[in-house]
């Protein structure tokens, strides 16, 4: 619905040509193999692979394709990651038609577009850039599923003490002191 909405919105513009759309990461990559548009509007919330990861992959394979991130919420952590992964802009879904067109016109020139609302959210960032390692992310997800260190250790074929270490590092990185706050902030930052 959102896709078709944006499409019929953009098709009213003569300067903009709609080349197609994809509903998930794989079909997006398949599409880009066939043809490369100037700009890709990319939703953050995709089924399976996140828009953030897809952004990185697309930029690595097709550096000339400009990417504009799309999301409902003004989530600073997302915006930042998206930009780090090579996006040229970020637009909220509640943005106006004019704003979207402005974003496209800015990005096509090779410039960065961030709306006032978005760039303000970027400044209000006390939630530092929490970067987790692959293992830490793994452990965090298993903790969130209610597993104890012992169970996690068996699952990952590592020692309980190692799991404990990862857990301690997670607490340190999130700057929290127990599991409750860990899970809460992690969900709030949409990391899990």
């Amino acid at each position: 619905m959102v896709i078709e909405g944006i499409r019929s919105l953009l098709q009213q513009e003569q300067d903009v040509e709609w080349m197609g759309h994809a509903m998930n990461a794989d079909s997006c990559l398949a599409f880009l193999k066939q043809q490369q548009p100037d700009i890709v509007l990319m939703d953050i919330n995709l089924p399976g692979k996140s828009g953030i990861d897809l952004c990185k992959e697309v930029k690595e394979k097709y550096p000339s394709v400009f990417i504009i991130g799309l999301s409902t919420f003004n989530q600073q952590s997302f915006i930042q990651k998206m930009m780090e992964n090579g996006a040229s802009g970020y637009v909220l879904k509640n943005a106006s038609r004019e704003e979207l067109l402005e974003a496209i016109n800015t990005v096509i020139k090779g410039k960065i577009y961030l709306s006032d609302e978005v760039s303000q959210a970027m400044k209000h960032t006390h939630s530092e850039n929490i970067i987790l390692t692959r293992r830490e992310k793994e452990v965090l997800e298993l903790i969130a599923e209610g597993m104890t260190n012992n169970v996690i250790a068996q699952k990952l074929f590592i020692s309980v003490t190692t799991v404990d270490t990862h857990r301690k590092n997670l607490l340190a990185k999130f700057d929290v002191k127990n599991t409750a706050l860990l899970i809460r902030t992690a969900t709030q930052l949409q990391i899990i």
Copy 2:
């Protein structure tokens, strides 16, 4: 952007007349004072008052106006509340144009429209049975803020053992076995 998208999408239909749009609850109510459409598409995530509350208010004042809930996520708790408050349908924003039109055509006849995806999410709900007491909700929120039983006890002027009891009851009601899962499911169900 989403509004304008849906608008230009619906304006292609001869059977549908677009009467206007509102960006928040107040301007929606002001709009309805002037004129009442057959159907209102209502986003759940509004600035300030939630779509759920607005839905109730609109239905009380204008019972003949049918409301279709709109949201990005398939959040069972939201859908249920929305329907309880008098909505006639619920559509996800990733729904197709056809689905939206089907929803409109169903609802205008006075029937209820729920897409397969949505009604499935409604069935997968063992969650509606979870009713917390005032005290339990209080304790749950303090747990989510990272407090230990001891701190909570001091804060609420009750014994640590009492807090422990509430905690045990919370685990039982949510059918989970530790804090991590408690916080996770509670946040997922939007209880905290």
